[in-house]
Amino acid sequence: MSRELTNQELLDRYIHAVKLMLMLPPDKMDDIAAEVRSNLESQLEDRAVTLGRELRPDEVSAMLKQHGHPAKVALQYREQPGRGLISPTLFPLYWFTLRAILASWVTIRVIVAVFVFQGTSPGGAILLHLGRDVLLAAIIIPAGITLLFASWEYLDLRFRLSEKWKPETLSPVPPRTPHPEKHRPMVHVIGGIAWLVFWALTLFSPRFFWVWGGRGVFSPSDALYAMRFPLWLLAFSWISLSWLGNTRFAASKWRHLLRTAVVVVGVALAIGLVRTGDLLVAGPKWIPTQAKSLATLNQMIAGVLVLACIGAGLDVLRRFIRVIRRGSGHPRTADSTS
C-alpha cells in the first residue's frame, strides 16, 4: 500500500513536473519554477489562513489540480509555439530504449557473425557485413523508435491535458546528483584517445587492421590513405577542445572560434572525401560475391558523412546567429515577439 504524500511532496512533484516540461535553458527553468512555486505557496498559505488551519494533502492536491496540469502551465511559458517531437519527460525512457535496442542488436549481430563466418569466410568479411548492417541499423532503429515515441508523446499529451490526471501520480523529484555533466568531458577525452589510437593504427599501419594478417577483404582507398595525417590532426584538435572544455579556457571566446574552425575544416575534409568516391576498396582476399555489400557499405559511409556535414553546418549557423544576437544586445527574440 502506498503512503499518502505530504503537502510539501505534492508541491515539489508538481514544480518538478512543470520544470521538466518547460524545455528551456536551466537558468530560465529554475527562475520560472521558483516563481510558480512562490505563487502556489502564497495561494496555499492564503487558503490555510481563510480556513484557520493547516491544509490537508487532499486539499493541496485539489488546488494543484485546479491550477492546471504541469504541461499546460509550462506551455504558457514556452518561447516558441509548438513543441518538440519528444518531451523531456519521455526523453530519458526514449534514450534508454534506443540505446538498449541498438546495443542488443549489435551484440546479437556480432555473436551471429562470429558463428556464421567462423572457418568459412575471411576475417575481413565479418567486418564488411557487420559494418554494413550496423550502419543500416543505426538509421532504421532510431527512426522506428523515434516514430513510436513521437506517437506515444502525442497521445500522452492529449491524455495529460485532459482532466484525468492527479498530482499524486506525478513523478517524484529525483535526488540531486552533484555536477553529473562533469563526467561527460572525461568520457569524451578517454573515448577520444581510444579513437585516436585506433585511427593512427588504421591509417598509418594498415597491416594492423585493414589487411588483418593478410586475410582482409577491403582496404582504405588511396584518397583516404593520402589524407590520413589531416584526418588524424582533426580528430586530435576535436579531442583537445573537449579537454579544454574542462579548464578556464571554456569561458574564452576563442574556444567557440576554434570549435567553429575545426568543424569547418572537418566539413571541408568530409566533402573532399565524399567527392573522391569509394572510401573502402577491395582487399587482398576479395571475393567478387561481396561486391554488393562493399558498395552498400560505401554508400552508407558517404550518407553518414553527408548527414554529419549537414548537422555540423547547422550547428555552426546556430552558433553564428547566437553570437550575432548577443553582439547586437538582442534580449530574447521570441519573448519580445510573442
Partner: protein, 118 residues
C-alpha cells in the same frame, strides 16, 4: 447565438485590457500573488497561468522590472513599473480613453446606459 465567436472576441478584448490593468496596478510594487488579488479586488479575474507569462513578456519589453526578495520568510518576486513602462502606460491610458469615448459615441446604446439599466 454564436457563443464560440463571442467567447473568442471576448478573449481578444480582454487580452489588451489585461495588459493595461497589470501595468496600472504595478505603479505600486507587488509580488505576483498580491497582483492577482489586487486585480480580483478591482473586478478583474485573471488566471495565474496567463498572468506570469504576461509579466515575463512585459519585463522582456523593459516595461517592468523585477527583483527577488524575502517577505514573510519566503522568497518572492516583486514587480514594478519602469520609467519606460510609466510612459507607455500613460500613452495606453490616453489611447484607452479615446477608444472608449469613440465606442460610446458609435454604439447605439452607450455602455454606461446599459450598465445603469442592469
Amino acid at each position: 447565438m454564436n457563443l464560440d465567436a463571442f467567447e473568442h472576441l471576448r478573449l481578444e478584448l480582454r487580452r489588451g485590457c489585461l495588459v493595461l490593468a497589470v501595468l496600472a496596478e504595478l505603479r505600486v510594487e507587488r509580488h505576483g500573488y498580491a497582483l492577482v488579488k489586487a486585480l480580483r479586488d478591482g473586478g478583474l479575474e485573471i488566471d495565474e497561468n496567463t498572468l506570469y507569462p504576461l509579466l515575463r513578456r512585459l519585463e522582456n519589453q523593459t516595461l517592468l522590472a523585477s527583483a527577488w526578495r524575502v517577505e514573510d520568510k519566503r522568497n518572492k518576486r516583486f514587480y514594478r513599473l519602469t520609467a519606460e513602462g510609466r510612459a507607455v502606460l500613460a500613452w495606453l491610458l490616453e489611447e484607452w480613453q479615446t477608444i472608449n469615448s469613440a465606442i460610446e459615441t458609435l454604439s447605439e446604446a452607450p455602455i454606461a446606459a446599459r450598465r445603469r439599466k442592469a
